[in-house]
Symmetry: C2
Subunit: 188 residues, 2 copies
């Protein structure tokens, strides 16, 4: 590997991008994790805030600890809301997502991070756990050079309108539909 070649792509104009990962397919959160990994390789400071999930982040948690102090992970969710027989009431999900918004405001407006990932925030909007204006405020008010990644299916059009890059992940096939249980290291 020729290390000397690796710095050649420093952009002349730095832009803090707004990136939206949406769609129903597998790979949105995973892609955001990959972005965190890549950013850490450049010595950038990353903050990941989950809006929906809780119990399932076992692999990620352990890995992310290996990337400390460059990556901070905030888990506020309590599992999936409204699906998979999740026992928590709406009120509790809303309170959790609102706590995530509070953390996101604090972290984003602190100016201390190069990359902030709001994982599953679009799901949280769709399920009315956070309000669209709260998300818009984060996007419009972020530090100009900070990258912001928002994941979750069915991203709101107002969010898409503000994004520089939007990728939609569609499911062509899924192991789950073939009766295969979630697998360690892949699904969680």
């Amino acid at each position: 590997m020729e290390e000397t070649k690796l710095q050649m792509l420093e952009p002349k104009t730095k832009v803090g991008l707004v990136i939206v990962l949406t769609g129903r397919g597998k790979g949105k959160t995973t892609s955001a994790l990959g972005m965190a990994l890549r950013a850490v390789g450049h010595g950038m400071k990353v903050c990941i805030i989950h809006f929906m999930k809780g119990d399932m982040y076992s692999g990620e948690q352990t890995s992310i600890k290996k990337l400390a102090p460059y990556v901070e992970l905030h888990l506020t969710g309590k599992g999936f809301c409204g699906i998979q027989g999740n026992p928590y009431p709406y009120k509790e999900h809303r309170a959790n997502a609102q706590e995530a918004i509070r953390i996101a405001q604090e972290k984003i407006f602190s100016g201390q991070y190069d990359l902030v990932i709001l994982d599953e925030i679009s799901n949280a909007v769709r399920l009315k756990l956070v309000d669209l204006p709260q998300v818009i405020e984060l996007i419009d008010g972020k530090p100009p050079l900070m990258h912001l990644v928002l994941t979750g299916r069915e991203a709101h059009e107002e969010v898409i309108r503000r994004a520089h890059t939007v990728s939609e992940v569609n499911e062509i096939k899924h192991a789950f539909r073939q009766g295969i249980e979630p697998q360690k290291g892949i699904d969680y």
Copy 2:
């Protein structure tokens, strides 16, 4: 975080999945990197083999070193073939991709890995740098419990037929088309 809850999803039946990430949108390689990160969190052994790219993997390289000895990274490509004014001749790209196939065979058939990622292999097939039967041999001959991830746009239908999970990443918007240069930590 309640650590005690995190092991609850151990599947009754372990399956080594074949996962295909395809489509033209941003996030296929990034998603594969995220999978590597997740797998490492479970103490799984990961091998990533790139088929097409070379010079641009700066962020990833540094990060992946932080995950050693759990993740091995093999870069054999010499930049993009046929686009971006890449100066290397086809013969050299083919030789590089064939070296990647040789490494993939060695690593996959060794049975020493829990997850192998063949990054941009579908591009390599499309550009005739590797032959479809070489890819099919890897899929059909892999250890049953090893997960195999194949990325690259326009995955071949024979590859898709063999996959458990196929996600297609489509580009809805891209910063590049708004005249924004590739940004460190996001694009490389």
